[in-house]
Subunit: 162 residues, 2 copies
Amino acid sequence: MDIWVFLVFLLACGPAAATGAMFSPGAWYEALKKPVWTPPNWLFPVAWTTLYLCMSLAAERVARQAGATPAVGMALALYTLQMGLNCLWTPVFFGLRRMRAGMLVLALLWLAVAATLVAFWRLDWIAGLLFVPYLTWVTVAGALNWSVVSLNPDQAKGPVTV
Amino acid sequence: MDIWVFLVFLLACGPAAATGAMFSPGAWYEALKKPVWTPPNWLFPVAWTTLYLCMSLAAERVARQAGATPAVGMALALYTLQMGLNCLWTPVFFGLRRMRAGMLVLALLWLAVAATLVAFWRLDWIAGLLFVPYLTWVTVAGALNWSVVSLNPDQAKGPVTV
């Protein structure tokens, strides 16, 4: 087992886990009519933790099949990580209007895109080059998010509950 | 170029693109103070479309490096797709409270998880087995989402704007 590839795949479950923590069911969900077989609320995080472990173990096993070039598995694990973080930013910033949490997601996205760029470049420099516009744009987006937090301190203070 | 691997990686950008469409900036963002160099709104979808094409081309090139076992690239492309859809469901259902859109995301997630399970199983049956609990849980989640839509027709009718 390549523990690092497993850990990056596990890390790539982080954005999905974060959605569960940030968009919680709350009073709206409690008030909905639900079927009698609805699993109890406590079971959801337990189930998802188990599933994240299973799917990361599975992905590591598949990534390891890239026998000729083991670095392919790590590169695509990093790719999955950056894609999850990419999916997370808009709902946090525009959905929850949590600008500071959005800034954190964008900082993590920047790191994940940079790491993917490096891993890709080592395998194929054209693939690395194709990631340069992406890293540039995420840098601009990060500067914009940072400016908006600085220019709107009142709005940035607290989340808007949805 | 393996066009199918490229297309699955492009499809895997879909959930990220969907967040941009579903959590739009709106009046709240328009009213925020922004730096003078803020890119115009029309540039964002243009930039992202270009970036999705670049990153999918890059990922296909890297996936192709798994020379000994080309199916590894396709399997991990499907894995990226299911992870993005996984990140999308909670913000749509609990964030936007759009139950029907949530049902669509969950149906697509089910298909992506099933396709990943099959692709994984062909490469390594243990990796395939490790995906069985995941597909089972997504089936339960889908049945729950469907029941909630049916039992709460008034709530399911229209989205709650945030």
